[in-house]
Structure formats: structure tokens, C-alpha cells
Assembly symmetry: C2
Homo-oligomer: 181 residues x 2
């Protein structure tokens, strides 16, 4: 919610139990809820697609193709769109790999396992570079976010399985940049 809605204040509406943004004139309540990030660990044979960020935060660090789910879009369609936008990758979703919760920033990440439908990748406007890495080539010291590490680890852990339950945050891990990798 923007700072420009001048007649809104934070209070508990009738029948509710937590602070909301309420219009002082008419009582209209603006509900603010967590946002969904969708993305994929995309593989081609033994290699995994990573994108080097051309935008903040963590400019210059490597990440998975991922971003905010848009209105009217399914999570799978969103993950496919992000792979195209950030890596010009045409992907096929295989399975939900992880559901990660970054509570500090009210974000739920739905990360899929997917394969490249053809070997072409190329940097989209938000990427400085896109590359395919074998496991031992992954630039671990330059990974953008803790949840990228989680997803890569969970991908490797489930690589030989055809069906598995999606993984969650590692025990005790919150996704904070200060706490962990």
C-alpha cells in the first residue's frame, strides 16, 4: 500500500482481530497479504540454469529464474513465464520441488523442478548473464538468496525420485541474509 492514500489509518476493523489499513471516510478495508514468488530449478541433462542478476537486490549474484506471480496466472504458468523473461528458457514443469516461506518479507515461494525443452538460453532484460552449470561448477559463493541454495540442495536430493513431497525451509532457516546460506 502506498504512502499516498491520505485518508487511510491502521486500526482493527469491527469483527476482525488485527490491524488493517482502513479508510477513515467510508470504512473500506485494504487487506494486505503475502506475495507469491514462482520459479524453477531448470535442468538440461546434468546441468542447471542460473541467471546473474542485472538488477538490485543482489545485483551481480546468481539466482534461479523466479519472480512474482501475476494476477490471473497459475503458479506453473508464472514459473514458465519467469523462465522465459529472465533466461529465454522454454521449460516444461515436472513437479513442485519446494514451498519456502520467508516470513520476514511475507513471501511464499513455489519453486518447481523443470526441464529445458531445448538447449537455448539467453539473458533477458533482468539478467546480466545466463549459464548452465554442472553441480560442481555452481558459483556457491555468489548465490543471491538463501532460498536458491535450499532449492538447489532439494533438487539434488530428489533428483533420482519421480514423485516426492515438496520440500520446505530447512529446519530453523528463515531466509534471512544474515542468518544463513
Amino acid at each position: 500500500m502506498s504512502e499516498h492514500a491520505n485518508n487511510f489509518s491502521r486500526r482493527v476493523p469491527a469483527g476482525d482481530d488485527r490491524d488493517r489499513l482502513v479508510c477513515d471516510d467510508c470504512g473500506f478495508v485494504v487487506y494486505e497479504n503475502p506475495k507469491i514468488v514462482v520459479g524453477a530449478v531448470v535442468h538440461l541433462g546434468e546441468r542447471i540454469v542460473l541467471c546473474r542478476r542485472a538488477i538490485p537486490p543482489r545485483l551481480g549474484y546468481w539466482t534461479l529464474p523466479a519472480g512474482y506471480l501475476e494476477l490471473g496466472e497459475s503458479p506453473e504458468a508464472g514459473a514458465r513465464r519467469e523462465a522465459w523473461e529472465e533466461a529465454r528458457a522454454d521449460i516444461e514443469i515436472e513437479q513442485l520441488l519446494g514451498v519456502y516461506s520467508i516470513e520476514r518479507i511475507s513471501q511464499v515461494q513455489l519453486i518447481y523442478r523443470a526441464c529445458l525443452r531445448n538447449p537455448h538460453v539467453e539473458a533477458g532484460p533482468e539478467s546480466a548473464e545466463v549459464a548452465l552449470f554442472r553441480w560442481e561448477e555452481i558459483p556457491w559463493a555468489e548465490i543471491a538468496f538463501p532460498s536458491v541454495n535450499w532449492a538447489l540442495g532439494h533438487f539434488r536430493e530428489t533428483r533420482a525420485q519421480t514423485t516426492f513431497p515438496p520440500r520446505r525451509n530447512p529446519e530453523g532457516a528463515t531466509g534471512s541474509m544474515r542468518q544463513e546460506v
Copy 2:
């Protein structure tokens, strides 16, 4: 977003590719994204918890304990909170049962399989009644939403499995009330 933010208009911000709500004075962009509903198919032995809705929409119809994920809350914690708020049910999450996408209303539902930690249930403020049903006792003609039917079916389908990938919308099903059950 409310109707009361008078200096916002819908246009494509620089570097973006879709309409956003943009402040005409300063260029601030309000991003609107899908909301997350969290809930659970809660079982006790062979019985399943359903709540009869005391509020619109679908007042008087039966549903799962479920609702909007709140800021700063993990999906599992949200599903536990909703079970408590709507059915006074103390639940233990077992596994993610379904990820359902209702694109028409930009909603992603994360529905868990959970068990009751004790047999007590009771109507919370948004429920007219809470009851435990055996499969053959479920009031199928009075189910509130298509995705409740999906989750119940997926629960039964995976009942004997200890690990399984979460289910998605049935093929072609959009969650529209007019299209299907």
C-alpha cells in the same frame, strides 16, 4: 486497492510490460498480486472436519477450515490458525495435499492434510456448525466451493500413501461455480 486513492491511474510503468496502478504525482507503483488461501483436510480416524459457513459467500454450505494467509505467517501456521478460528480444531499438519489455482479470482490455495490432535471441535465465529463426517456421510450437495470437492477427492485418493506429490486442479477445472463441482 481501494477506490479512494484518487491520484492513481492504470498504465504501464517504464520497463514493465503490463498495466499497474501508478501514482500520477510521483510514479509510485502499487503491485497487485494473487492472494494465498491456506486450509486443511483434517481427519480423525475415518472422519473429516467440515464447517458450515455462517458468512457469505455460500452461507449455509459446508467447507474446509481455510482462509487468507496473513502477513508474516507461514502457510502451515496459517492453516493451523484457520482450523482453530473456524472449527476450534487443534491440528497437526501432515503434508501438502493440493495446490489449487483459481485464476478468475487470482487465488492460489495451499491445502494440507492434517490430523486432529484431540477430538474436540466447535464452531468459531465464521461457522454456523462444525461436524466430523465419514466419507459416505459428507453432504455432497451442500459443498461450498469446487476446490473443497477437489481436496476431499485428493484426500481420499492419497489416504493410504505416506508421501505423494501435491495434487493440482483436476484437468480443465478452473474453480468457477458455474462450470463444475
